[in-house]
Symmetry: C2
Subunit: 367 residues, 2 copies
């Protein structure tokens, strides 16, 4: 099948050039080898300029004739070839599909190409990192579980989806939200609100918060998937929409915020296209407990694991700012954490009608 999409052509070209280089080495009777970026911790750093977690420039060689590399070399070539096939068939497959599609017993041996998905996943990451392409650009579907509504339209293939007309549901964010697939239209929203919890998102959606406040509300239902992060990053980059994160006031909520903002170590090789350093932490903070007179009964005691995580996070470079150090210290001193739902104590719609509008008006957020 002839590939017509420009981006797809570019991706196939990149993959073919890897194969061509190998063929050339074989023709020259050299040991075929692939150069790959090192993805271990010692090649990962926080880039102060882009304010995201990044992969350094250390690389390593994977050689066919090195018995310690041979199996992985074979797997790398298989995965690259299968990705090319998937793109040519104009399909998208999950990384689990890919694993199964490639798993077979090698002719004349009892050896399988892959024994488990734990073998094929790192190879995919190698290819992403070495081609500097996103998984989605390789037509591999990562899971996505979030929903979005708000003042904009989405153009997706032949369909135009009006995100102001999703009823009490939302548009389920697909795996691939790259510009080649998803186009934004009629963006009247003035900011994006990234909400940690689905139940809280539902409160904002039921109250049509996005309509009254001209915004877009997204949830990743806990730790967001790549797709939700990429969607928000694109809205920030392409429309300069500010992004506010609304999380539980606990180490887990604050960690999710940091992933949205500067990325994670495990996805360091893709963070350039996923992290959104403009994100601001709008709440909850331990300061809110006093500001909004939240009764002590609905706070939760910090446990020893929480304190351990807070101490770890306080040492991260991207949490070195005074405001965050103060917040961590304050949380430890008060020894309480707070869930978003705790605001229900102040009234069913306190969070949508008072808390959030007030925080935005006062620009009361953490950096």
């Amino acid at each position: 099948m002839a590939v017509t999409d420009k981006k797809d052509k570019e991706v196939i070209q990149k993959l073919e050039s890897v194969g061509a280089a190998l063929l050339k080495q074989i023709d020259k009777k050299e040991d075929p080898q692939i150069e790959l970026p090192v993805r271990s911790l010692n090649n990962i750093y926080f880039d102060k300029k882009s304010k995201t977690i990044k992969l350094g420039d250390k690389t390593s060689m994977r050689n066919f004739l090195n018995v310690a590399h041979t199996r992985k070399f074979m797997q790398s070539v298989l995965v690259a070839a299968e990705i090319k096939k998937v793109i040519e068939e104009e399909a998208t497959v999950s990384i689990r599909d890919l694993y199964y599609a490639l798993k077979h017993t090698i002719d004349g041996t009892t050896e399988n190409t892959f024994e488990e998905q734990g073998e094929s996943d790192p190879i995919i990451e190698d290819i992403e990192a070495s081609t500097n392409l996103l998984r989605e650009e390789l037509h591999l579907a990562a899971s996505s579980k979030g929903v979005v509504t708000g003042d904009l339209k989405i153009r997706d293939g032949k369909d135009t989806i009006d995100l102001t007309k999703m009823g009490s549901g939302g548009w389920g964010v697909p795996s691939n939200v790259e510009p080649e697939r998803i186009e934004f239209k009629d963006v009247n929203a003035e900011y994006v609100l990234f909400i940690e919890k689905d139940a809280v998102w539902k409160r904002f959606n039921e109250d049509q918060f996005w309509r009254k406040n001209k915004c877009i509300i997204v949830t990743g239902r806990g730790q967001p998937s790549r797709a939700e992060r990429r969607l928000v990053q694109r809205l920030n980059h392409e429309y300069e929409l500010p992004v506010y994160a609304l999380m539980d006031a606990d180490p887990w909520g604050m960690y999710i915020y940091s992933v949205i903002k500067q990325g994670s170590i495990s996805l360091s090789y893709s963070e350039e296209k996923l992290a959104c350093p403009d994100t601001k932490y709008i709440g909850l903070s331990t300061q809110d407990v006093e500001t909004y007179k939240i009764p002590k009964e609905v706070t939760i005691k910090l446990n020893s694991l929480d304190v351990k995580r807070l101490n770890e996070m306080a040492s991260y470079e991207w949490f070195k700012k005074k405001e965050w150090q103060d917040e961590f210290a304050n949380m430890k001193q008060k020894a309480v954490k707070l869930e978003l739902e705790a605001l229900s104590k102040k009234g069913i719609r306190f969070i949508t009608e008072e808390y959030l509008p007030d925080k935005i008006k006062r620009k009361d957020f953490l950096p």
Copy 2:
């Protein structure tokens, strides 16, 4: 606020009648008491007529003046009153919101109304069971995480959502899909396909399977939430659409199927409105391995936990049919299980273009 919705009025009336009965008892200087259905295992049975799991007619009394009951009695009245308030404010709240809204230290004591959500959740279930109302009808939002597309439109409040125009995403199923909220329009689909896994749903959605095959595709992303089950049950009841379940060929997939079909013990008091006994199990089955010549390499060895679960399931009344007993025996004898993604071995679109259409054509399903 005056409640205008007919259903809401009916619900408030039910709650008020509970309160009125208590007041009457107090006026008569009797010990106030509430009659509640027993929700323990010895009052749960498989109803052969409706083919669903049901709650029996055993009840118990909760008395204010019985010190063993007083705390729960107080909690029951608090929860009922809060639900009434939520309905009157025309809001929907999560059960976590409800817990926080009601949590406080009782005046003049050091005792809290609730110590944890584990105390308020069973009270909500008591109220559901005793009023014979769904949680959704009480304006309590259960989590929902599934997506749906297909040949129909959804009318939700003022919005009409065309489920043939969702692009590569889907409509995120909201918590409440009761007829008062969600209306179906232009249902041209001829059946519903309930898909266990999100990644497989994405394959079916990308291939627009629902268009070529005039159907509706739903996933609950693993064990479906109440909302996805209720949505499918309504489509089955109101439009007589057959329902097919597409699951992994393993004890977990088959168990999820059984929940969709006849319900679960933990939700026995609501299964009348959630279970969908017409559901058929279209795949995967261990027989498929031979029928479709699926290579041995992509099957997975059954482990001892799997065998234990199979033996348990084989003893359930609703799995007593010969076809299921044969399937369990066959699975144990072959000692393999199979994931949906394993079909990728036969080609990227084998599952949507060959496997499923063939199974439906041959009516090859388990009861």
